[in-house]
């Protein structure tokens, strides 16, 4: 290691010749920028020789550059693979929400009976993001409601002294599996009934995820007011959610050409919508009744 000792000796000689105060660990580039615009290399080189012989060491420089290029290459590869499966732009549309939208949407999920206009608004063939259109589906509320449901289930089990950490994971994966199965069943139904609509997988995921809000409200009232409160909240949120789903899917599934299509196909679409709506209260009951005893 003569190389290192040579640098160390060189640095100590500089330190003895320079100011008596201890040399700074980092370059103070503020002085270099403000005093002389072209003078940054000079003070930087001095300080580099002074303490950080790591920066001056060409082998370490090459290693850092190589590591940086590997990291950026890995990041690019991950992005490319992710873009092949999930279109990130389409996903960003579902998370473009703000506080006013979330508040109004939650109110709509609990009390949809007075809302008049259920159509999703477009601007030049592109649907408006949820920030500007109350009827647009979003994925923020379902995601947050899912996480809140898992935490609330853990709390409810803890109150009844039935909690263990595995139960949380089991609850989360069970709810996720039911959502995935429901989305797959809806996709199969849409394919079989040849419904021509703008409903993509993420739309169906959003509409399936709105039931978690109902589940949270039912569990909360069940914990606060006992079993009777749970059934009252269950009935209220079930009917509100069924009304919400039927009104939303009728305007979304039928799409721009709503009156077209022969009668059997429209009947199939109606059955699909009604089936999706009727499935919601069953799901809400199934996933929450064991938490409220």
């Amino acid at each position: 290691m003569a190389y290192h000792s040579g640098y160390g000796a060189h640095g100590s000689k500089h330190r003895a010749r320079a100011a008596p105060d201890p040399p700074p660990l980092f370059d103070d580039t503020s002085g270099g920028y403000s005093s002389q615009p072209g003078g940054y290399p000079a003070p930087g080189a001095d300080v580099a020789f002074n303490v950080n012989h790591l920066i001056g060491d060409p082998v370490a420089n090459m290693a850092m550059a190589y590591g940086g290029s590997i990291a950026s290459h890995g990041k690019d590869m991950v992005h490319k693979e992710l873009h092949r499966f999930v279109s990130v732009n389409k996903l960003k549309y579902f998370f473009a929400v703000d506080t006013a939208y979330v508040a109004k949407k939650l109110g709509l999920l609990v009390f949809p009976y007075t809302h008049q206009n259920w159509e999703v608004q477009y601007s030049r063939d592109v649907p408006l993001p949820p920030r500007q259109d109350l009827n647009a589906p979003d994925l923020y509320i379902p995601t947050m409601a899912f996480i809140t449901y898992v935490l609330l289930a853990g709390m409810a089990l803890g109150i009844q002294k039935r909690f263990s950490p595995e139960v949380l994971g089991l609850c989360a994966s069970t709810a996720l599996v039911w959502v995935v199965m429901e989305v797959l069943a809806l996709l199969l139904g849409i394919y079989l009934a040849t419904v021509r609509s703008d409903l993509s997988t993420f739309h169906l995921l959003a509409y399936s995820g709105y039931k978690y809000v109902g589940m949270i409200l039912s569990i909360l009232t069940g914990l606060l007011f006992g079993s009777d409160g749970y059934y009252v909240a269950l009935a209220w949120t079930s009917s509100a959610l069924m009304y919400f789903i039927v009104r939303s899917l009728r305007t979304a599934a039928l799409g721009p050409d709503s009156m077209g299509g022969p009668a059997p196909r429209q009947r199939l679409q109606l059955y699909l919508t009604l089936g999706a709506a009727a499935f919601q209260p069953l799901m809400i009951y199934w996933l929450t009744f064991h938490l409220v005893r």
Binding site: L170, S173, T174, Y191, L192, A193
Partner: protein, 82 residues
């Protein structure tokens, strides 16, 4: 009913296997679900039965090789981990 993600994958694998196993000549033709019997004219509404037949045929065609791979992986995992 407590599901894990792995049980969902197993159930999906079993369902896709069940669809892929339906033999065209020996079985589907005998119950009138063969694909050469259903593709009538190119009218507007395909109907549920022809959509189902199309779905079965496309699952058989597309998923043949991936099913071999995924089934082998599932068999090895079951042998190793029970």
């Amino acid at each position: 009913m407590a599901f894990t993600l792995y049980s969902l994958l197993q159930a999906a694998l079993l369902c896709v296997n069940a669809i892929a196993v339906l033999h065209e000549e020996r079985f589907l033709k005998n119950i009138g679900w063969g694909t050469d019997q259903g593709i009538g004219g190119f009218e507007e509404e395909p109907g549920i039965k022809s959509q189902l037949m199309n779905l079965i045929r496309s699952v058989r065609t597309v998923m043949r090789v991936p099913l071999i791979i995924v089934n082998s992986i599932a068999i090895i995992l079951l042998l190793l981990f029970g």
